[in-house]
Every structure is written in C-alpha cells, then in structure tokens.
C-alpha cells in the first residue's frame, strides 16, 4: 500500500514539475524582460527584432533616470510618504485592533463591516471632494496631502489584520496584569506587542505596499514635480508619442527590487497576512 502510493507520487512529479516550470515562466518572463531592458543601451531598447540578452550590457538608462531625470526625487518622496503613513497606521491600528479584539464594546461587528467597506471603497468617489478639502487648507503639493489620506484608507485593513492576531493571543497574562492594575497602554506595550509582532509586521508590509503603489490620489493631489511619487513619475514620463522605456525600466527596477527583496525575506508574514482574512472567514 505504502509502496503503491509512493510509486504514484513519483510518477506525478514529472507532470507537476512541468506545470511548475510553466508557472515559473509565466511569472518570471515579463519580470526578466523589464530587468533585461533596463540594462540595454537606450538605442537597443527600441531594437527590432528585440535583443533577448542585453548586449552590450549598460547602466546608461540608470544614469539617465537618476541624474538627468528626477526619479531619485520621486523615490525619496515615495519613501517619506509610505514610511510616515505606515508608522501612523501601525500606532493607531494597534490601539484600535486591541480594543476591538479584547474589550467589550457594543457594535464592534458593525464597525468592522463598515471598515471592510471603506477598505474596498473606490477611491474615485472621494478624490474630488478630498482635493477641494486639501486645497482649502492649503495642503496640495505636500507630503501630508498623501500621508493623512493613506493613513485613513489603509487603516481599516490593518485593523482587521491586527485584530485577528490579537484574538489568537491567550488572555491569561493580560488579565493578571489588569488585576494588578496595570495601565492599558502599558499592557499593550509589554504583554501584547511582544507576542503580536508577526501581525504588526504583516500589517506594516501591507500598508507600505499599498502606499508605495497608490496612484490616483498621488496623481490628483500632488501635481508639482517636487512632491510626485514613483507611480506618478512613471505614469507621466515620456510624451504621447514616445515613451523612453529604457529610462523608465531603470527607475522601475530600482522601485520594484527593494520591495521584492522585502517581500521575499518576509514571505511567511506576507502569506499569513494575505490569508488572515480567509482563515478567519
């Protein structure tokens, strides 16, 4: 019996491996194409038929992107906005997530449903009023014009993730702390957080990625070149007739690779975060 099933498994492997290879090619080829094109000479990026390998390999596109164009500026802007919004989301999300997981508040379920709806609410419906509001308080073309809306729009999902994590942490230590009269903030800091850091990490990566990729609000609120983020810079680069793809991909590689590495290192947390909602139902 055991023999038969092992035999069967081995036979399946070749088919599975072939399928896995197809999956690999499906995902990897477009990525390879972007990276390879970034390392071609600007003239060879537009070669027809295309070069399959960059020959000669060149970093000229990177020079054009970062010294003749302001992609460096866009990346710095993206980092500032994404880091600030992520920090705010984590602090506010931890407090709210803890409260909704542990404290007997009425209407938690309703709030959670509303939060879920806000996190999927189409941005287009709020962009114009937010634009008018930001203009009235003089915040257009600033970092806070993106940091505050990002915090608000990405908090709901973070609260969901964090609440699910807190629910899975055993109660006992907290209760004894409470009986000892410990201050709730202190309880969160010294008892909950040390156990919940994988959840915090997941929430952080999600929020950061969401801020890093957000386009519509960044496009609408920060028109000035000094405050453009990477997606806006990439979308608006080039004219209607020619897009300098080499330069664009050099900048894109720099914008994609750090996140790729981050996601790769923390793949376990990311996967568990992606599935947190699914598991909890």
């Amino acid at each position: 019996m055991r023999n038969r099933s092992r035999h069967k498994q081995r036979r399946v492997f070749s088919g599975v491996n072939l399928a896995a290879l197809l999956v690999f090619l499906f995902i990897a080829l477009p990525l390879y194409w972007m990276i390879a094109s970034a390392f071609k000479t600007p003239a060879n990026v537009g070669a027809s038929p295309p070069q399959y390998l960059p020959h000669p390999a060149s970093v000229q596109n990177f020079n054009v992107a970062f010294s003749q164009n302001t992609f460096g500026r866009y990346i710095v802007n993206s980092v500032i906005v994404a880091v600030a919004a992520t920090a705010l989301v984590l602090v506010l999300g931890t407090l709210a997530g803890y409260a909704m997981a542990r404290l007997p508040m009425r209407g938690t379920f309703t709030i959670l449903v509303i939060l879920l709806m806000i996190s999927v609410f189409p941005e287009i419906a709020v962009v114009v009023p937010l634009y008018a509001l930001l203009r009235d308080i003089g915040w257009l073309n600033s970092y806070q014009a993106l940091i505050i809306p990002y915090t608000a729009f990405f908090l709901p999902f973070a609260i969901w993730i964090l609440r699910n994590y807190f629910l899975a942490i055993p109660h006992e230590m907290e209760e004894s702390a409470r009986i000892d009269g410990a201050n709730p903030l202190r309880t969160i800091w010294s008892i909950i957080l040390p156990q919940a850091w994988p959840g915090l990490f997941t929430a952080a990566i999600f929020t950061f990625t969401a801020c890093w990729t957000e386009f519509l609000m960044a496009l609408s609120f920060n028109v000035s070149n000094d405050y453009r983020t990477i997606p806006v810079g990439v979308a608006l680069f080039g004219s209607q007739f020619t897009v300098p793809y080499g330069t664009l991909f050099a900048a894109s590689v720099v914008a994609v690779v750090p996140i790729g590495i981050l996601v790769f290192i923390f793949r376990r947390s990311v996967v568990s975060g992606l599935t947190a909602g699914a598991v909890k139902g």
């Binding site: 492997f13 409260a99 009023p129």
Partner: protein, 301 residues
C-alpha cells in the same frame, strides 16, 4: 452585588475600548465621511467650479439623468462588468490550478511563493508600462513572437477587442498570484486523511477535487473572489497608462470615465454621479456577498 460590580467593570472596559479606538476611527471618519457625503451632495446638485472651490446650488436629478442617457456611461458600465467577470473568473481558475501544482511540488515551494509575491507587490503603473512595452507595435516582443508563429503583426492596443484582451492579460499576470497564494493557504489546511479515504474508495483525482477539495476551499475562494471583484470594479491605473481608455472609449472603465469627466472636462456634477453610483454598486455588492456568505455558513454549521 457581584454582578453589579462586574457590570460597572464591563462598562469601564468598554469606555476604555472606545478611547483606544477613537484616534483611528477619528482619522478614518475625518478623511472618508466628509468626502463621501460631499460627493453624494455634488451628484445631486448643480455644481459650479469657482475660483476658491465649488458652489453647490439646488437639488437636481439632472446629473443622474445625464449619466443614464450617456452612451459612454452605459458602455463603461458594460465594460467594467465584463472586464471584472472575465478577469476574476480566469484568475480564480488559474490561481486554483497554480495552487494545486505548488501544493504537490516537493522542492522549491518557498521560492515559487516568493516569486508569486513579486507581481502582487509591483506598482500597477509599472506593470502597465511593462506590458505597454511588450505590446509596442514597432519593437514589442509580442509582435516578434506572433510573426515567428505566422500570425502576422496585430495592432494590439489600437483595436477594440485586442486592447481589452491586452488589459486583461496584464491584470491576470499581476493578480493571479494573489489568488494562488490564498487558495494554497486554504489547501494546506485540508487534512491528509480526507484524501487517503478517497483513495481507498478508489476516487480519481478529478472526483476527489470536486468532492473534497473544492467544497472545503469554497469559503477561501469566495473571499478571494470578493476582494478581486471589488478591486477590479475600481479599475483605473492600468487603462490610464496602457490605453488612456482608448481606442475611442472602448477601454474606459467607470473610474476612468468619472476621472475624465471631473478632471479633464470639468463636468463635476455628472462626474460625481458616475463616481457615487460606482461606489454604491461596490457597497451593495459587498453587503449582498456578506449576507449570502453568512447564510451559507449558518446552513453548513
């Protein structure tokens, strides 16, 4: 006496809960409630753009009436629904297939997972430019591939159906991995002995999938579908960069239409009507789904 005391204690804890939630809920409300209310107000008023903002006057149904009578809106609604249905269906089938493959993979599963996460974490706008390069009519790789296999050189982004298909392919490439990862997480939680029992009964792989795997995966898949449907309904970044809604308005999604109406044509009232009704459709869809999902869960329990 003791119940009174625990009652007081509970109330104290509830107050503490609201206190801790207040900062988050305030920020969310401040940034979302006013704009949503204002967008609704804009959609039912005569909107005049003035030097210092907007002035709304009177209540009118004319914005919605303009919207309902516009062929562009009807087409955008049709396009968005078809696009959502097709991409989500393909992503779920393909994503489930990929998850089944990865689950059986003996080595390198971690690496494949990491690879799958890269398209998911990629900036959509960059994804759009990358596919724009692939589809380029003069030096795109797709052209070369097509002429090698004797299919001529199609004008991908310049004709309606190929342009829609091209958008879908770019979307499917970026989002299928997300579905695959969610389904894979559901798969690994199915106990082994379920399959062993099926094997003893002599069930084929295909039967085992439909009898065991699929029913157990259904809640996971349903959640992935919900997220994807709601996201796809707000489709904006991809057509904005790849096709600008063209050729003509054949890839103009509801969000692109609303954006063009408000930011390009400065038709704020009708634009707000399009945006608000899109949001309303998303909210209704979400509520319906939650209701069906809970009813189903209760029936199964």
């Amino acid at each position: 006496m003791s119940t009174r005391r625990s009652d007081v204690f509970r109330r104290k804890l509830a107050r503490l809960g609201w206190g801790l939630s207040a900062p988050a809920l305030t920020v969310i409300a401040a940034v979302t409630v006013f704009p949503i209310a204002y967008a609704i107000a804009m959609s039912v008023s005569n909107v005049n753009a003035t030097g210092s903002g907007f002035s709304l006057s009177g209540i009118t149904g004319s914005n919605y009436s303009i919207m309902f009578h516009a062929a562009q809106w009807r087409y955008a609604l049709f396009f968005t629904i078809v696009y959502t249905a097709v991409t989500v269906a393909v992503e779920v089938v393909l994503g489930t297939a990929i998850a089944l493959v990865l689950e059986r993979l003996s080595a390198g599963r971690g690496w494949m997972m990491a690879l799958l996460l890269i398209p998911w974490s990629m900036i959509t706008v960059i994804n759009a430019q990358l596919w724009g390069y692939i589809y380029n009519p003069t030096y795109g790789i797709l052209d070369t591939v097509f002429s090698h296999i004797g299919l001529g050189t199609p004008v991908v982004l310049g004709t309606r159906v190929p342009a829609i298909a091209a958008l879908m392919v770019a979307d499917i490439w970026k989002t299928t991995p997300f579905v695959a990862i969610i389904v894979l997480a559901g798969l690994v939680m199915i106990p082994r002995d379920f399959y062993e029992a099926a094997e003893v009964d002599g069930a084929s792989g295909w039967t085992a999938f439909w009898r065991i795997t699929f029913p157990l995966l259904r809640p996971t898949i349903a959640l992935a579908v919900l997220f994807r449907v709601l996201q796809a309904f707000g489709l904006f970044d991809l057509p904005f960069v790849l096709t600008s809604g063209g050729p003509g308005y054949s890839t103009q999604s509801l969000a692109i239409l609303a954006y063009n109406a408000m930011f390009r044509d400065l038709d704020f009232g009708p634009g707000a009507a399009v945006a608000t009704s899109t949001a309303l459709l998303v909210v209704i869809g979400c509520l319906l789904f939650l209701r069906v999902f809970r009813a189903q869960a209760e029936r199964e329990a």
